[in-house]
Amino acid sequence: MHRLARLLTLATVLLLPGLWQPLAAQPKIERVTTALGIEAWLVREPSIPMIALEAAWRDAGWAAEPAERGGLARILATMLTEGAGELDSQAYQVRLEELAVSVSFSADRDEFRGSLRTLTRNREEAFRLFGEALARPRMDSEPLERRRQQALIRLSREQEEPGSIGSRALFAAAFPDHPYGRNPSGTPESLKALSAADLDSFRQRHLGRDNLVIGVVGDIDADELRRLLEATFAGLPAKRVQVSIPDIAPALDAKPIVIPRDMPQSQVQFIGAGIGRDDPDFYAAFVMNYVLGGGGFNSRLMEEVREKRGLAYSVNAYLAPMRHSAIHIGSFGTQNERAAEALDVVRRELRRMRDEGMSEQELQNAKTYLNGSFPLQLSSNSRIAGMLLRMQIDRLGIDYVEKRPGHIDAVTLEDIRRVARRLLDPDNLLVVVVGKPVGIGG
């Protein structure tokens, strides 16, 4: 009996979702500014005795490195934790471990990033060590040679992985003669030529206070944070040196590029036209892509490629806005024998979305998901810190969390049709296949 009852209530709930509004989950964001003008966005969360800080420097990612210095930004990121001030590499690391503090840096395409995690009780020394790494890194020769060796091996190992091989070729073809087309890991020649002076020059030119954004979440109040920020970042130059990187549209007209590798599964990646984060149609494109390929198990690509035909384990597409370009990018892996069929299915779905748009029901479902799931992205300190940083990098405004649902809800079917026609072109897609695909290319 209970089984029937359960089914009835289930059916009732299934009819409701269109009416459901997600619960408000809005962390209170404080703007904290120091006397020097260093600004951080803070969410105070005292329930766990820890602090997470995320920092980013705009326009200081690997795209900013000189063409002949490929790999510089990534090596610099590793070298910043190899000793600072009076502490050599081992002494610095011992200090971090004694305090259970984590300090790390990385170089993205457009931003250089830093990350600090500490127990509240060790915050003073943790912030000091983070600041020392930025302002007084030692760049000793032992760690530099070691990091160079590791980078060379990493570069070589990228040639083992179908995903890396494919995306190298894809970006090189999409962005010829542009920093975005270069390998962020560099080349054997560029890595061998890098010097400590190169690294230091990049650091001093690009890691300033005027291109710095910071997000902090944790057990700390605004006054205490202000004091620590001033001490930590005062050593950076007030102004960074401007870089000039031209805007570029991806080149999409090439025939499919096949990179032969002896593997059972072809790894397929594709690029189409994208849309800027600040474009008025960004949210329409975002919703459109969710239905097409961004919605996990529920996207059209997943339904057609995986669920109906068993052609792939995963298939996805997403929008990748960048500082100087924008792309729509997707990938899947499929058995060599059926690679052409799978690619045809993907093209067909792009065409169907372009020509027919989506149904009112699909649009409603997408909105419910995109708004309803947003609070899940704000469920931990580290996730919130990441969001605070993204909001600043993309200049979304401190009220973004409140405004985002409205942007999503405002998208209409007409917006979807317009943006699909603008972006999707199944006949003008840059495709790279790694493997032994049957029926593609050559």
Binding site: L10, P17, E97, Q150, P264, N298, Y313, G333, S379, S382
Partner: protein, 446 residues
């Protein structure tokens, strides 16, 4: 083996392997058991109005019948194919339409299903999860394409990746008799033969409330969860569940080695794993000493392996150690290293042997012990930042024969480890007669 690859999941899993924990309490969960035997664990976390809802079954790949490798994982995929109340493919759509995310995962000792949702959607997902615990409907039209999906998953994870292939070979050599020798995803030739009937038999044999653990973490109270769980899981009758009897290992008499060449490989690598004790309910001791040993030997950038093998003129470009002690039967302790350009694998291995011999002979220092413990104790606090990490850690522990009390006692058991314990653990476990050594080399085309 999740149904979809996800970075978050992988990270959560890694974190749960090293079983993080805290000061006086770690996750401070509430527990109770329903009348039908279903265990319930609630971790209250009121930072955001969201919850993670998970059901873990005490069944994994190591519980599969002969000739049916991969059936536990295949069934995990098929659990999304519908019931009389939920049409095929609708499960995840309904979750998404309600602003949630869902997925599932399979390991040697457990299978788990989860949904992350706003707290007012908890009852909906609970009702759906309870429904598919007993009402799964499968047809060949749904099962056969999904078997292709699993074969593609195997290609993507394993066959396309020589490092994963070597790992599979090493795992198979580590155990002569115990089913941990079989990969979770299954052997390809056996996956190809799996049927709808195989899945349904496995389902009926193992999926029941008295073989399941409900874990809810997030903005909810234990009383609320109790009410909902009694309403939705409570009416499902218990079922006779056979004990988890698995062949145990005969004594290992000699070291085992596998060397693989593959023309896709550009950089050689070396690794070794030892059969090690797993954590046991109510017991401190060796597993905790091994956790500390892994830290000191190869856990971070001041470790023994780092200093002896990687820094300066050392032979390795990278090196590290790990211990996985959350398992029903056997844990594993592992070492790995990549040689610097121009350094032979033999030289690297010899240097590694010296590091092991030294720690066995001379033990560790007070400073090393203090540093390792500081990091592990803090990891227990950092672990509380992620709701899903809390739920994953508790679920893995409970399906591996541990209790909530063991998870909560983790920090004090780590704190109790002495220098002598670490040395004794190194002497007992880092023994070649427990080991498999794996070498991966580039194959030069002739």
């Amino acid at each position: 083996m999740p149904r979809l690859p996800s970075l978050c999941l992988t990270l959560a899993l890694l974190a749960s392997l090293s079983l993080p924990a805290a000061e006086a309490r770690v996750f401070d969960p509430r527990t109770f058991t329903l009348a039908n035997g279903m265990e319930v664990v609630v971790v209250e976390d009121h930072r955001a109005p969201v919850v993670t809802h998970m059901v873990w079954y005490r069944v994994g790949a190591a519980d599969e019948p002969p000739l049916k490798s991969g059936i536990a994982h295949f069934l995990e995929h098929l659990m999304f194919k519908g019931t009389p109340g939920i049409p095929p493919g609708e499960f995840s759509r309904i979750v998404a339409r309600n602003g949630g995310r869902d997925n599932a995962f399979t390991a040697q000792d457990y299978t788990g299903y989860f949904q992350d949702v706003a707290k007012d959607r908890l009852e909906l997902v609970m009702r759906m999860e309870a429904d598919r615990m007993v009402n799964l409907v499968l047809t060949d039209e749904l099962v056969l394409p999904e078997r292709q999906v699993v074969l593609e998953e195997r290609s993507q994870r394993t066959d396309n990746n020589p490092r994963a292939l070597l790992g599979e070979q090493m795992q198979a050599m580590q155990f002569l008799a115990h089913p941990y020798r079989i990969p979770v995803i299954g052997w390809e030739h056996e996956i190809r033969q799996l049927t709808r009937q195989d899945a349904l038999e496995f389902y009926r044999r193992h999926y029941a409330p008295n073989n399941a653990i409900l874990i809810v973490a997030g903005d909810v109270t234990a009383d609320e969860v109790r009410q909902l769980a009694e309403r939705h899981y409570g009416p499902i009758p218990r079922r006779e569940i056979a004990p988890r009897l698995r062949p145990q290992e005969p004594p290992q008499l000699a070291e085992r080695r596998v060397s693989m060449e593959d023309q896709r490989v550009r950089e050689p690598s070396w690794s070794r794993s030892y059969v090690a004790p797993a954590q046991k309910a109510g017991e401190a001791g060796m597993p905790y000493a091994l956790t500390v040993l892994a830290e000191i030997l190869g856990g971070g950038r001041t470790s023994r392996m780092q200093r002896a093998l990687v820094l300066g003129d050392g032979p390795a470009s990278s090196a590290g150690a790990w211990y996985d002690g959350t398992a029903l039967d056997y844990g594993r302790f592992g070492l790995y290293a990549t040689p610097k350009n121009g350094v032979g694998i033999e030289k690297l291995e010899a240097a590694m042997e010296r590091v092991i011999a030294e720690i066995q002979r001379d033990g560790v220092t007070d400073a090393e012990l203090a540093r390792a413990k500081a990091g592990l104790e803090a990891a227990a606090i950092y672990a509380r930042d992620s709701m899903s990490n809390a739920a994953r850690t508790l679920g893995a522990a409970l399906t591996s024969g541990l209790t909530v009390a063991d998870v909560e006692a983790w920090p004090e058991r780590i704190a109790a480890v002495t220098r002598e314990d670490v040395q004794a653990a190194a002497r007992e476990v880092l023994d070649l007669r427990r080991s498999v050594t794996g070498i991966l080399l580039p194959k030069v085309r002739s």
